[in-house]
Point group: C2
Chain length 151, copies 2
């Protein structure tokens, strides 16, 4: 296996976990910057053509993992960690889809940030295709949303 | 930073890279199995409720990386590695969205496999939302598809 290395860092308005919108209906509209290290800048060639990017990053402030998670969207019912976006995962890799607003050299200005300021970035991939929304079932999360809207 | 660890392995019909459909219009309909290690099985609780999963895995047969990639979909024009799905990335992490067909203990039967047999799995996350297709621009890839359809 490999040892993860940062290719850059996130500049985000969120300085601590409690500031990040969480739970049902949380909107991630925050803007921020993906600052790539200069040595990786050449890897961004032609990225401007994509409107959306998948960013993989490290949950660098999570310590260890749990197989059972208690997500804020469904506090009363625990779920397996792989059925959640919990930070406490065997491999502490986070995934965020962001909208690319512009590029300035090694800096990508993006919308949809939900990472903490200073988060190490592991990879950037173009977001290529969508599964039609009517084909997606979201298990416990859809149930929690339904229950929440009745309260 | 962390050292990646396998949480399981892919059972795939593809035994070598050349067998995986590539290039424009490649369809990934192959079925396979994500075999989680027993010690991680508890992390799958409630995963059956999701139709689609994001699988993160290791390009374990890629050796090193290039900042400029030559994807098979656009062989004449090089692109930055972060604007492609090339296996030769600074962090050799692959991403595949699969459809969950069924679960048997620690084994997830899925459709949409594009990994080699024996590929180490790093993480599984629920696929939650879709960006409407009309909002997505796919840069050089859309251009290559257009050019390809004229040939």
């Amino acid at each position: 296996m490999f040892t993860a290395q940062p290719i850059g860092y996130i500049r985000s308005p969120y300085k601590e976990t409690s500031a990040i919108p969480k739970g049902l209906g949380a909107k991630h509209e925050a803007e921020g910057v993906i600052e790539l290290l200069r040595e990786f800048e050449a890897g961004l060639k032609d990225i401007e053509g994509f409107t959306h990017l998948i960013v993989l990053w490290e949950f660098d402030r999570a310590d260890g993992f749990d197989l059972i998670a208690h997500p804020p969207t469904d506090a009363k019912r625990p779920h397996g960690v792989f059925a959640t976006r919990s930070p406490r995962r065997p491999n502490p890799i986070g995934l965020t889809v962001v909208e690319l607003l512009g590029r300035n050299g090694a800096a990508l200005h993006v919308r949809g940030i939900d990472m903490l300021d200073g988060t190490p970035v592991l990879d950037i991939k173009p977001y290529l295709s969508s599964i039609p929304i009517e084909k997606i079932k979201r298990g416990w999360l859809a149930e929690a949303e339904k229950a929440g809207s009745r309260e």
